[in-house]
Each structure stands twice: as C-alpha cells, then as structure tokens.
Symmetry: C2
C-alpha cells in the first residue's frame, strides 16, 4: 500500500489496522461495518476477525458484535516501557488528587503528542476525566507544554515546523513564535499553565518529573474547572504537586 522499502506481513498489518479502528471511541463493531470503515473486503474482514477471535484478541459480545478481547488487556499490562513510571506514580498521584480535589495526570511525549500514562480522578462530581492510553495535542495542554519545554532545541524546532496550531478556544496559542516564547517561560519557571487553551472552562497546571540525570521523563498535571481555580491557589497547588513528583523521582532512582 504505502510501504516501499521492506516487505512486511500484510495480513498482520491489516489485523492491527482493524484494531486501530477501536481507538476512535466506538467499542463494538459488526463485520460489514468494520469492512466499510477500513476499506477491506467483507470476507477478508470476517476472516481477520475470526482469526483474532480465536486468539482472544477480540471477542463477540451479547449482540454478536466484535469488541476488543482480554488478550490485549493482558499484553498491554506487560508493556515495560514506562511500566515503572506507571507503578510508582499511582500512590503519589492519588495523594495529590485527594489533597487538591482535582484530577491529576501523568503523561509523556510520544509522536509529538501527550500520552496519558496514569491518572487519579478528583473526588468531586464535576471533574476532568480522561482515558489512560489516549493522546492529546501538546501545544494546548499544560502537560504538553512542560514536556515540549524540556525537549532539545532540535526537537522543539521540529515540532514547531510540523504542528498545526489549531485554535480550540479563543485562548489557544496559534502562533509559533508565541509558543516558543511560552515554552522558554515554562522551562525557566519549571511549570506550565493551560488557561482554557484546550477547552473552555478547563484549567491545568503541570510540572516536570526528572530522572537522576536531570532529564525530564514525564510531567504531572492538575486539571479542573476554571470556577475552582483561583490564582492565589497556584503556589500551594505547585508545592503539593512537587511533593508528589519528588516521591516518584525517588522511586525511579532506586531502580535505574
């Protein structure tokens, strides 16, 4: 299709393209439906699904639709990259969430986007809720701005070259120069704010998590409704998050 150099296993690629469809927030699919979505032949789709079903990668639900299966859950839990980061962050994130009463996230940069590795949700009814393993644009999130700010100058300029700074709200930074200045500020102050740049009414604060070599390996954020975020709280929020980050950093240096 689009691969030029190597000869890869086309069926395997097709199988995973099928699974990729599930990333777009629909949980159950019929054969013909998936065939139409992927452009594959109905028979091919059926055979791929049957194969995946025999492997427990997908399974049929009560409506005879195909849903993702437990094999993926099993394998997903084995993914070792960032596994320690996820493990060691759980308790600190929850302590932060409990203290601040807002949703807390831990994320890393991946493919120029923020990948959410872990979270602890606010105990309150009105709260931010995200899907672990999902992605978000970096330029309009506090997490993303921290992770970008501490990237190499090369990576940053590449990012700025490739990214489309779409305005998601009236506050979104849509200008490369402005974003670069913002990133320099973030790096100097060691924290980032997202003042309703991703979504109206949504405010975030994020700080970096360092490894023992003083490289930024992740970022922690606190997100909540603008109605609850007062500017006089920011300093105390920051010190609480930093305490959590410090705990995580301690655990990580034990190992690596």
């Amino acid at each position: 299709m689009e691969d030029i150099n190597k000869d890869l296993n086309l069926s395997v690629i097709k199988a995973f393209k099928l699974l990729d469809v599930y990333l777009n927030n629909k949980q159950e699919w019929g054969v013909r439906e998936l065939a139409k979505k992927t452009g594959y032949n109905k028979t091919t789709t059926y055979r791929l699904l049957s194969t995946l079903e025999s492997l427990d990668v997908v399974q049929k639900n009560d409506n005879d639709k195909y849903i993702l299966g437990l094999k993926l859950f099993e394998l997903g839990n084995l993914v070792s990259i960032h596994k320690s980061l996820r493990n060691y962050s759980r308790i600190p994130l929850e302590n932060i969430a409990k203290e601040i009463k807002e949703t807390v996230h831990l994320g890393v940069l991946r493919n120029d986007q923020v990948l959410y590795l872990n979270k602890a949700e606010s105990p309150l009814g009105l709260k931010v809720s995200t899907q672990i393993g999902s992605y978000q644009e970096a330029y309009c999130t506090a997490l993303g701005k921290v992770l970008l700010a501490f990237s190499s100058a090369n990576q940053i300029s590449n990012y700025l070259k490739n990214v489309k700074l779409k305005a998601l709200t009236s506050n979104t930074i849509t200008n490369s120069e402005d974003l670069l200045i913002e990133l320099e500020q973030v790096k100097k102050k060691e924290y980032a704010l997202d003042m309703e740049e991703l979504e109206l009414g949504l405010i975030c604060i994020a700080i970096p998590v360092f490894n023992k070599n003083k490289e930024v390996i992740a970022s922690i954020s606190v997100s909540g409704p603008s109605s609850r975020f007062k500017s006089e709280n920011i300093a105390s929020y920051l010190s609480i998050i930093k305490k959590g980050a410090f705990e995580i950093e301690g655990h990580l240096s034990d190992y690596n």
Copy 2:
C-alpha cells in the same frame, strides 16, 4: 497447523504467538532467540517483528532487542470487558489495603484460571506483589476457590475433570473430592481461605462480588504473610472487605 475447521490468517496467528512469548516473564528478545522459542524460521520471525515494529506493537530497546510497544498499552487500555469493574474497584481496593495493610486483589475466572484485574498493594515492606493481567491456578487460591464455588455445577464438574491438582505446598488440596467439599463450604460461608496452599507462608482470604442478579462476577482477596494473619483477625478482615465489595456492587448497578 492445529486448526481444522476454519481457515484463519496464519500470519496473524504467528504474530500473536510471538507476542505470547512475552507472557512468560522475559521482557526483551532477540530475533534468533524468539525464532528458537516459537519454532519459526529466523527470517519469518524477523519479518514478523519488523512488521510489528512498524505498527508500534513492538519496539527495539537500547540493546537492539525487541520489547513490547506502546500500541499494546494503548489497545489494552481500551478493552471494555471488565473495564468498569477495574475502574470502580480502584478506590475500594485501596481503602481495604490501607485499612488492613495487606495487598488486595480483584480477579475473575478465565480459562479455568484466575485473571488478576486490579490490585492495591500493602503499604508495608513485606508484601504480596502480583502482575495485573497475569493468571494463577484457581484451586489453590482464595480468589479462585470463591469464583469456582459460585460457578454452575456443570462448570465445576468440568473444571474438576480437566484440572491437574498439583501439590504446590504440603497444604495444597490435591484431591478432587476434597476440593468439591471445600467449594461447597466456600459457597455456604461466602468466603474462601488459602492457608499456604499456593505458596508457603502466604495466606489469603477472598469473598465474592455480586451483580444485581446475585451472580458472582468477580472476587476480592486480601493476601499477606502467615506471620501477620491471626485467626482472630479474620472476622474483622471479612467485614472490611465486604464493605469494599458492597461499594463496587453499588457502582456497577448504577450502570448495568
């Protein structure tokens, strides 16, 4: 190879058999190493790995060995079966762990084994630690005995027919009749004990989690070293675990 009736995508099957190798607690593999382990040709293995790498399903680490990739993490987090069970159990499990100071697990029965869906670890240094998404034999664990006990008579007799009751310690139940009697006891008392039947020095207590139709959909256990488990604590442990189970049951009935 071993499939008779349907014609499935052999390459896809091979790809996942490769990934299955990672379930046996080794995180990084070379091409020839994986080829030997699976019995596939070196070239085939290489091409499958290249394909999977192009899809982010595996990736090379610093030693040029192949490790599981973030695509699996991403897809694994989308698996919807038991997703709500995992979400709603997190806080209750942690409350139990905090109160009892022992590791708490939530598991379901799958392929005649216990699948660990979630956990909250003991705050103490000496503690039980398990891999989420991994499996354990049912007949010698408290979780497993609860889940078996509340299965249908048919399922139980099938289980007893197929399982090999290997003695893992001197306390392991290795006799089908004994196990059946034990399961009846468990069902009557609505809790199960594992008195060092899986591992010497390891004791567990487990209770069922019911859905609104009074079917058992999961089980919660508390596990710790025998040195800390006194018989006079069991009653209080049970009431604490039951409180947690009740919370989970409440959340589940909100949805279903």
